[in-house]
Symmetry: D2
Subunit: 260 residues, 4 copies
């Protein structure tokens, strides 16, 4: 019979597929840290046609997401499916005459997000992500206020790859670069019967409904760690910049592709 499903597994109903097609909606809590990366190490992570910005800036972003899917109400309804955490590096990059963002490494603690990400060209791996979430009452947590320290870390393959903190000292009218640079991804799906990939193309997400809450800023710390399976530690950091704590939301309505 005709099987349905945007991804595997396909069935007669389509309701077993892991991922439904966009639109997808995201509302998240962000902890981000700017840093300067080794220019050589950054360049070694970029496809042809992209070069690091001269100032060598980059960002690490931790996100605690709630997500929804127009074609699958279970994503919003089931917190075990729609909610997840991820951590990634964004290199600030020149492509043609534009500044864009490029994500060479990203870890996520969700199957849905792993595969939804791979479809968009996010190079997602599974990892364990921890992030301070603020509290409004009591002494068990930290508030979104001056002097509070927000911590975040990510582990991949049993080794710490990212450890960051932001100690709030004010707020900002400007959005951090990590939130505003359009991301250019590489969609890559291998063939099984020949060496050339079945899919290899650049992808620029179609973003809508962007919203951002108050951007709390502060001094930051950042450490990058090594594993046998990633090449993040070569990026440095050469120096650590400002940190940011804020809420962010947007929708992905699809994407545009170009030859890789």
């Amino acid at each position: 019979m005709t099987l349905r499903g945007w991804t595997l597994p396909q069935t007669a109903t389509g309701r077993s597929a892991i991922v439904a097609p966009p639109p997808w909606h995201y509302s998240g809590e962000i902890i981000a840290v700017d840093f300067t990366a080794s220019p050589e190490a950054a360049a070694a992570l970029l496809p042809s046609g992209m070069v690091p910005v001269p100032e060598g800036t980059a960002s690490v972003v931790f996100a605690d997401w709630c997500s929804a899917s127009d074609h699958d109400p279970r994503v919003l309804a089931d917190p075990a499916v729609g909610q997840y955490r991820e951590a990634y590096v964004v290199l600030h990059v020149i492509r043609g005459d534009k500044k864009v963002g490029r994500v060479p490494f990203i870890w996520v603690d969700s199957e849905l997000s792993l595969l939804r990400g791979q479809i968009q060209g996010f190079p997602k791996k599974l990892g364990q992500i921890a992030m301070t979430r603020p509290v409004d009452i009591g002494r068990g947590g930290v508030r979104r206020q001056t002097g509070s320290t927000f911590s975040a870390h990510a582990t991949s393959h049993g080794r710490r790859v990212l450890t960051a903190s932001v100690t709030l000292d004010g707020s900002s009218d400007r959005l951090p670069r990590a939130a505003t640079l359009p991301l250019v991804h590489t969609r890559l799906f291998p063939a099984i019967d020949r060496p050339e990939p079945a899919v290899h193309e650049l992808q620029l997400g179609a973003i809508a409904n962007f919203e951002c809450g108050t951007v709390h800023t502060g001094s930051a710390t950042l450490a990058l760690g090594a594993t046998e399976y990633e090449e993040i530690e070569a990026l440095g950091p050469v120096s650590v910049g400002r940190g940011y704590v804020f809420s962010m939301a947007f929708s992905v309505t699809g994407g545009k592709v170009e030859p890789a």
Copy 2:
């Protein structure tokens, strides 16, 4: 040498111990559902000296906690250690001439909380807990507002033991019972060289700094599930009551013990 540590592992510094002594502080987001339990099943979970309230009421509570420890700053600082989720049943109980709460089953996704709980007499097991967390912007999640549905579930031993939802329709001036009944626990630690336990006593936590945010209320659903390792499904529910979504905070400064 003299080793230090309130719990194992003990070392010369004491900083490897899993749990530091109270005071402990908690700030959490709660999803709770009242229900009526089978009176026989509830009675079969109570120690002598406690009987179910005549109306047979009970509650299921899901909590997403941030926690802190006066003697271990790492708990507040490291979100992977201080933050965790748990789910439990509270039977509403008569003990002597007082209404108290009794927790026959509780699951938690944190090592620290598992052992900190066992020390207090919470019968904690490891489980996987999911809870809707509200968002303030965007379409990726649900708001704390009328019409929103908050979902929560808990899995133990690969089987769903609790599945609940609350669809908000208002707020309340009164705190839910699940938040106000003082809990009476049984501290139990076996001996290894004789059949009688080494520790077997009732424990009433010393609670301070209690705070509660707005109590959002709504209609609720609740299903209890069976595993080979728990006896929760016999409780019913006979009927499902109201649901609650609120923030709660308190401190545990120690406890009082009585013979079991």
Copy 3:
């Protein structure tokens, strides 16, 4: 620069990619149970061109794998990467004039295997898999001998989807169908800029070096469970057949594709 990597993430060295191309090698311990499936439910899981065998037979297979990759020595060297467990259903199917196997549902506890499987067309999801492993000494486990019971179960989305056991009563000269039917998969990778998939084709793995140890057989039990995210429980089982416990090994050297 030119980035390398058979899958994402691509880097200058290629060593961050999750999956390296075949050949891949597998050595595993298998617990399998034959059953008869509801013919309608089985048909609803098959693509056009495949129909259930008239006798309606199917198998559930649990596998505890060690795996290796000719182009990535880390897979063999690191037990956290190369070793994993999976569980799947194989429908026995007629395609043209041949009996083949079709896997409508499969769960695995490994990122590498999840993505390596999706590339081959295995509809892999993450799950938690438990399997009795035999012991040779002591009283802590069961032996591979008459009277021993081997148990296995799989959990997806916090719910038990497969629960099986085999109580050994002999051995067999014949390999179980689940080990010998060639599998026909569907490779499916969505496009992001149009509704039609970017890749949608049938895939038949190129298998080499097949080996099988002694096939221990026995009476079996099997239960299929429901989740909100799978459609396995409709398969029944209508009746449960024999069970099998054995070692199996093979290599995947690539694959052949056909239009879907």
Copy 4:
């Protein structure tokens, strides 16, 4: 009513308790590495009455266990409950006029083993443990034969604490020290209403039915890692000794206690 259960949770039937009393039976696959520890660091982990052996030897042990419990058949029957992995350090110690073993740090991936261990005085924490398991057929894994490398590692709090390997070059008639030194533990359970512990005593397990398979030996590597929550890295290693791969089985029938 009278509640039953050797540990929490107690119920009328007793079948919800996490741990049933001994006898407990263990059959396991072991990867062990001898090393020389910093004498000062080792001494800082020992209670009064114990000193490191003059030669400063110690061992790291990884174990993949199957376990059973005479009073709870579910432990043997359910691989998700009875099977688990752990990793620990054994310091070789003089106590009075005897050589004994002392375990300052141990990580385990099982709730049952965590609590069963705490009752015996093993200072168990949760961790992620990976170990090469040998295969008998195929090319997906390694054999128990000369030239094969067995790898093992343990992660605690998202950081690698133990990384070891053994490359087999022969076998031995003698059991490794890690398998033969009687272990002296500290049972420690805090009071909640006073600073002094409720239970604080030394414990020597009553061991029966000890069995050991062929002891494969080889050259070894070992690295100890740091976390914010353990103090293992100070042990060194000063030098790394031989490695061992073998099967081991025994029963715990109870224990003897002495004042701490």
